[in-house]
C-alpha cells in the first residue's frame, strides 16, 4: 500500500470511529408516572455487599426481574463504570455522596418520581432531600444507608485498643498498615490533621486549599513507607488481614463483620478524631432499559426488612426510620448498636463523603477540585 492510500484509510477509519462516538444521542427519559410490570431484567452497579442474595432472591421471585450485579470498590470506579457504554449498561446504582453529584451533572442518572417510592415518607428528615442527591428541588436518588469509615485492627497482634487514627501514621506499625486505594482517602488524613495541626485551619476535610493539601500529601507520603498495600476492593483487605500481612488499617464495618465471621480476631472503632463516612443513594440510569424493575428494586430495598438486613450485614445505619424494630428482631440490641434509634445526633458527627469542588464553603474559590485530588493521590502512591 502506498503512503497516500494508507493515510486515506487511516483518516477514514478515524472519522468512522469518531462519528459513531459522537453521534450517540443523549436523550434523558422522563421519570415514570406509574410503575408497570417488570421488564424481566435489572442491571445493578453497587458497592460490594449491596446486592446480597438474602434480599435479591426474594426480589427476583416476587417481581420476575433477574438481577445482574456489578460490584465496585470505590466511587471513582462506580462513576467510570456507569459512564461506560453511554449509561446503557446499568439500571440502578448505589452511589455515595462523593459520586452522586458527578452522576447528576454528567447526566448519567434521571430524576426519581418520589411519589412512586412507598417508603419515602419514612426516610429520615435529613436524608429526604440532601444536597448530594437533590438539586434544585429535583430528586435524583433515594437515600439508602449510611455509616462511618472505621479503624480496624487485629486484636491478637495489637492488644491495647487504639483510640486515635495516629496508629495508621505510626512507624511502630510499619509494614502492617493497609488503607484504601482511593483519592477520597485524602479526607481521612485531612480530618486527622485538623485535630493534630489546628494551625492549618482545616474546617471541612473535603474543602482543602493548596497549602492544606500540601500538608496532607506530605503526611500521606510518610504513610506510604509504612503501608503494606493499598486495598482496592473490600475483599483485598479481608485477604490481607486473613493472611496476617496487615494488622491495622482503615476499613468499613463490612470488612470487620466479614473477618469476624471467618474467625479472624478483629475489632473496629470510630477514633476520637471522628470519622469520614458515606451516605448512599439508589439512582436510576438516564438510559435505563428496565425502569419498572428499577423502581420495583428501590421499593424492595427500602422496605424496613431489607433495610435492616443490609444494615446488619454491612454494619451501617438505615435511612428508613421504621427499620429499627426489624433490626432488633434479627439481632437484639442492633438498633441501638448501629444508632438507628437516635440517628440525628450520630448523623451530624460523621463527615460524609462529597465531591471536592473549587468553591469552598466560606464563599472562596480557592479550594481544590476533585481532579486535583486524583492527581494528589497519584503523587502519594507513586
Amino acid at each position: 500500500m502506498n503512503m497516500k492510500a494508507y493515510s486515506t484509510l487511516l483518516l477514514a477509519t478515524c472519522s468512522a470511529i469518531l462519528t459513531t462516538q459522537l453521534s450517540t444521542p443523549a436523550h434523558a427519559q422522563a421519570p415514570l408516572s406509574a410503575i408497570g410490570k417488570g421488564e424481566g431484567d435489572l442491571n445493578v452497579v453497587a458497592w460490594e455487599g449491596y446486592a446480597d442474595d438474602a434480599w435479591v432472591k426474594p426480589f427476583e421471585e416476587t417481581t420476575g426481574c433477574k438481577v445482574h450485579r456489578k460490584y465496585v470498590g470505590s466511587s471513582d470506579e462506580m462513576v467510570a463504570l456507569t459512564r461506560m457504554g453511554g449509561g446503557k449498561g446499568f439500571d440502578v446504582v448505589s452511589a455515595s455522596g462523593d459520586a452522586s453529584l458527578r452522576l447528576i451533572f454528567g447526566k448519567t442518572v434521571q430524576p426519581v418520581n418520589t411519589a412512586l417510592i412507598t417508603a419515602f415518607d419514612d426516610v429520615m428528615p435529613e436524608l429526604k432531600a440532601p444536597g448530594f442527591n437533590t438539586v434544585k428541588d429535583v430528586h435524583y436518588g433515594v437515600s439508602y444507608e449510611w455509616g462511618p469509615n472505621v479503624l480496624m485492627w487485629n486484636t491478637k497482634d495489637i492488644t491495647t485498643a487504639p483510640t486515635s487514627w495516629s496508629v495508621i501514621y505510626d512507624k511502630a506499625y510499619a509494614g502492617v498498615i493497609t488503607v484504601p486505594d482511593n483519592p477520597i482517602q485524602i479526607a481521612d488524613a485531612a480530618l486527622y490533621l485538623s485535630h493534630t495541626k489546628p494551625e492549618l485551619g482545616i474546617t471541612d476535610p473535603y474543602e482543602l486549599t493548596q497549602t492544606q493539601m500540601d500538608a496532607v500529601v506530605a503526611l500521606l507520603k510518610e504513610q506510604r513507607a509504612l503501608v503494606k498495600k493499598y486495598w482496592a476492593l473490600a475483599s483485598d483487605e479481608v485477604d490481607l488481614f486473613k493472611s496476617g500481612d496487615a494488622h491495622v488499617g482503615a476499613a468499613w464495618p463490612y470488612q470487620a463483620n466479614t473477618l469476624r465471621a471467618a474467625g479472624v480476631p478483629v475489632q473496629d472503632t470510630i477514633p476520637t478524631e471522628g470519622a469520614t463516612g458515606w451516605a448512599d443513594s439508589w439512582m436510576i440510569s438516564a438510559h435505563a432499559q428496565h425502569p419498572n424493575c428499577a423502581y420495583l428494586w428501590i421499593n424492595h430495598v427500602m422496605t424496613p426488612k431489607v433495610q435492616a438486613q443490609q444494615a446488619l450485614s454491612f454494619g451501617e445505619t438505615p435511612a428508613n426510620t421504621k427499620a429499627c424494630a426489624e433490626m432488633d428482631a434479627l439481632q437484639p440490641g442492633s438498633c441501638k448498636q448501629y444508632h438507628a434509634d437516635a440517628s440525628p445526633a450520630y448523623f451530624s458527627s460523621i463527615k460524609f463523603w462529597k465531591t471536592p469542588v473549587h468553591q469552598c464553603g466560606n464563599g472562596q474559590n480557592t479550594c481544590l477540585d476533585y481532579s486535583a485530588w486524583q492527581r494528589a493521590w497519584q503523587q502519594v502512591k507513586q
Partner: protein
C-alpha cells in the same frame, strides 16, 4: 490460471487481515493518538475536544510520573538480566547436551506453565510469598526468621522473572542449537580455553537469541499492570497501573492515552534497538 487472476487471488487473501488490522489496530491507535491531546471535565466526565499539550506537560513536569516510568523501566531491565542469567545453563543443556527425546521432554516442561492462566500463576506466588505462605513456612522449619517479601518490588521482580523465563529460554535454545559444532572444535584446535570459546564464539552467536528473548521480557514487563496490582505493594505502580486507573477509575481517557503514547514510544525504541542486535532475523 492467468497472472492477472493470480494477483487478484493474492489480494483477496490479503484483504481480510489487512482490513482487520487497519480498522481495529490502526484505527484505535489513531483515536488514542488524538485523545491524548484532549482533556476531560472533572465534574461531568465529558471529554473536552480542545487541542492541548496539558497532559504531556503534567507527565513531564510532575516527578510522580518520572518516578513511575523509571521504576517500570528499571524492573523491566532487571527482569531481562535475571532471565538471561537463568536461561543460559538450561538453554545450553537443552540445545547441545541432551538427546532428542530428553530435549523434547524438557521443552514441553518449559512450555507447560504457559497453558495455565497467568492470573492463576500470579496468585500462586501470593500464596508462596504471603505472610503465612509457603516461603515463611519453609524458613520457620529450618529456624530462619520470617521474610516480608509479599507486596514489595522484590516480589514483582521474582514474579516477572518467573512469568517470562520461557519466552527468554526458547529463542536462546534456537540460537544455541544453530552454532555449528565445527566452530567450537576449530576454536579448541587453535588452543582456546573453554572460557575463551564461550567469550569469543558462543556468546556473540547467541546475542540474537538473547535479543529476541528480551523483546518479551523487557517490552511485556514494561506494559504489564496485572502483576503490580496483585503482588506489588505501596510504591509499586507501573505505567500500566496509571493508565488502568485513569481509564477504569478516574475516567480520564485523554491522560491515560498520553501516558500510553509515551510507553508506546519507549517500547518502539527498544524494538529498534533489539532489531540492531538481530532479534527479528529469521532463525
Amino acid at each position: 490460471m492467468t497472472p492477472g487472476r493470480k494477483l487478484l487471488g493474492h489480494i483477496a487473501l490479503l484483504v481480510p487481515p489487512f482490513g482487520w488490522l487497519g480498522v481495529f489496530y490502526l484505527g484505535s491507535l489513531s483515536v488514542l493518538l488524538l485523545s491524548a491531546f484532549w482533556q476531560v471535565d472533572a465534574m461531568s466526565g465529558e471529554i473536552v475536544r480542545d487541542w492541548t499539550w496539558e497532559n504531556f506537560r503534567i507527565l513531564f513536569s510532575d516527578t510522580t510520573y518520572t518516578v513511575i516510568a523509571r521504576r517500570t523501566t528499571g524492573i523491566a531491565i532487571l527482569v531481562t538480566i535475571t532471565d538471561i542469567i537463568l536461561a543460559w545453563p538450561l538453554a545450553w543443556v537443552i540445545a547441545r547436551k541432551v538427546g532428542p527425546r530428553l530435549k523434547l521432554t524438557l521443552l514441553v516442561l518449559v512450555a507447560l506453565p504457559l497453558w495455565s492462566s497467568m492470573l492463576a500463576r500470579i496468585y500462586a506466588w501470593r500464596l508462596i510469598l504471603g505472610h503465612d505462605g509457603v516461603l515463611n513456612w519453609g524458613l520457620r522449619l529450618v529456624g530462619l526468621p520470617d521474610q516480608n517479601v509479599a507486596f514489595t518490588n522484590i516480589a514483582l521482580w521474582i514474579v516477572f522473572s518467573y512469568l517470562w523465563l520461557p519466552f527468554m529460554l526458547m529463542p536462546m535454545v534456537a540460537a544455541l542449537e544453530r552454532i555449528p559444532a565445527s566452530l567450537l572444535d576449530a576454536a579448541g584446535d587453535q588452543g582456546a580455553t573453554p572460557w575463551q570459546v564461550f567469550r569469543t564464539v558462543v556468546f556473540p552467536l547467541a546475542i540474537p537469541g538473547m535479543a529476541a528473548g528480551s523483546v518479551f521480557t523487557f517490552a511485556v514487563t514494561q506494559g504489564d499492570y496485572v502483576a503490580p496490582m496483585l503482588v506489588g505493594g505501596a510504591g509499586s505502580e507501573f505505567i500500566g497501573n496509571v493508565v488502568y486507573s485513569n481509564v477504569g477509575v478516574s475516567g480520564n481517557v485523554p491522560f491515560a492515552a498520553a501516558f500510553s503514547l509515551i510507553l508506546l514510544a519507549m517500547v518502539a525504541a527498544y524494538m529498534l534497538l533489539a532489531r540492531r542486535f538481530g532479534a527479528f532475523d529469521a532463525q
